[in-house]
């Protein structure tokens, strides 16, 4: 369904992505792992055109678009097929939880008001925030804000939802509520690409794990393959660092 090919991106002389390719099939839960600075977030941002890739192409539903030279109209068209959940939530501070969800429906996609409102109520219910509908972001906890962020991303029923470290900015005790929402989304058949450091989530939910380092994909496979039988030394080292004691090194 979604395929990105050979993505390159540099910031000044610092080459962050050195030709990354990625394929996502419908219903896939792709988890991207890797040390900080490996380019995971940049890759995700390039896919949603929040950063302009220097090179690369994106294939969505059979239509190929060059990522470097994509026109405004093409970017708008592609963005409407995707949802994006940010590390820092990035909720609209001047809109309530409900208003945040409505923007993408009633304004961006011009869905009739009654229909959009019904959908907004439905997704807020789905993330367990029906009682916080009329609260402004400043009145919500981090976990609640991120759940609104997820509701906002899924409301227009995008083909794929991109998650950029959705739990990294949260207090440890609030991580669970967000992960639970993501798990139930995964179970309901959504297609997701998740950049995260939550290993347990990757193990339990992912259909495909991608390990990135130094701007390239080092290894990819099912969670079992990557976690239990990693082939690359860099993957082994990363997993050891991030899950000390838990990760059994075996050849």
């Amino acid at each position: 369904m979604l395929q990105v090919k050979n993505v390159h991106k540099s910031f000044g002389s610092n080459e962050i992505l050195k030709g990354v390719s990625l394929e996502v099939k419908k219903g896939d839960i792709v988890v991207i792992l890797g040390p900080s600075g490996s380019g995971k977030t940049t890759l995700l941002r390039c896919i949603d055109f929040l950063e302009r890739a220097d090179q690369g192409s994106i294939l969505f539903d059979g239509i190929e678009t060059d990522m470097h030279s994509a026109s405004k109209a093409n970017i708008a068209r592609l963005r409407k097929k995707m949802g994006f959940v940010f590390q820092n939530y990035n909720l609209f501070a001047n809109r309530t939880a409900f208003g945040n969800v409505m923007e993408g429906l009633a304004i961006a996609r011009k869905i009739p008001k009654a229909e959009a409102e019904a959908r907004a109520r439905e997704v807020l219910d789905q993330v367990g925030l029906s009682d916080r509908r009329d609260y402004y972001p400043s009145q919500l906890s981090g976990g609640q804000q991120q759940r609104v962020g997820i509701a906002r991303a899924i409301a227009p029923r995008p083909d794929v939802i991109l998650f950029d470290e959705p739990t990294s900015a949260l207090d440890p005790e609030l991580v669970g509520e967000v992960l639970n929402v993501m798990k139930s989304l995964a179970r309901s058949g959504s297609t997701m690409v998740v950049v995260t450091h939550e290993m347990q989530f990757a193990r339990d939910v992912a259909t495909k794990v991608i390990f990135m380092d130094g701007g390239v994909v080092v290894e990819e496979g099912t969670p079992k393959e990557v976690f239990s039988h990693p082939k690359e030394a860099r993957t082994v080292q990363f997993l050891r660092n991030i899950m000390p004691g838990e990760f059994d090194y075996s050849i």
Partner: protein
Amino acid sequence: MTLNLQFMKETLVSTAAGIPTTLGLTCVALLISLPAGFFMALGKLGNRKTAKRLISFYVSFVRGTPIVLQILFVYSLLPSLLNHIVKNVLGMSWNVFNINPIFYAFFVFSFNTAAVLSETFRSALLTVSHGQMEAALSVGLSRTQAYVRIIIPQALVAALPNLCNATVNLLKSTSLAYMMTVKDITAIAKLNAARGYNYIEAYLVIFIIYILLCTTVQLLFYATESVLSGYKRRITI
């Protein structure tokens, strides 16, 4: 020394006739400089180098010269320049010296306030996190929609205290319009005072008028701010 109360009463009535002029000057200058300042702020935050330089030059030019000097320049230089252009370049017989001096006042005060407001708006736009723009784009809004619906409403709230300052400063500096023979509050008071040398009384009267006007402006801004910043209120549980 005693104050001539009778004169003060009369002056209050006659200078009150200048209030519309003072407020008119303030409003027109604001109406012109609000959008001008806003777009200059956007220009300065954008990535067009020439535009950025031009705006910076303009702002530092306005900041670096006293408003009195700007008035003297505009009021003595501009009419002659216009006259030259109309007579010799365009070859028309229209007499520029018939232009109501209030237009020169509009020009100077707008010119001045736009520079102040461009900086006010620039700092206000920077208070809204860039992440919200990205979020707006990611849910499918266009850049213009994101500005109109998300960024500007928040920037406006952040700008209000400085906007209030700029408005009050503008209102007070319109008192310099008398230099351009515009009959505002100050000009009328000076004229009245000169007749019988009742300067103290006349100045006391307009002192009070200005305080009342500026206080009203401030109260209006406070009210607007409390209405518009509703989303910032935290509830205490």
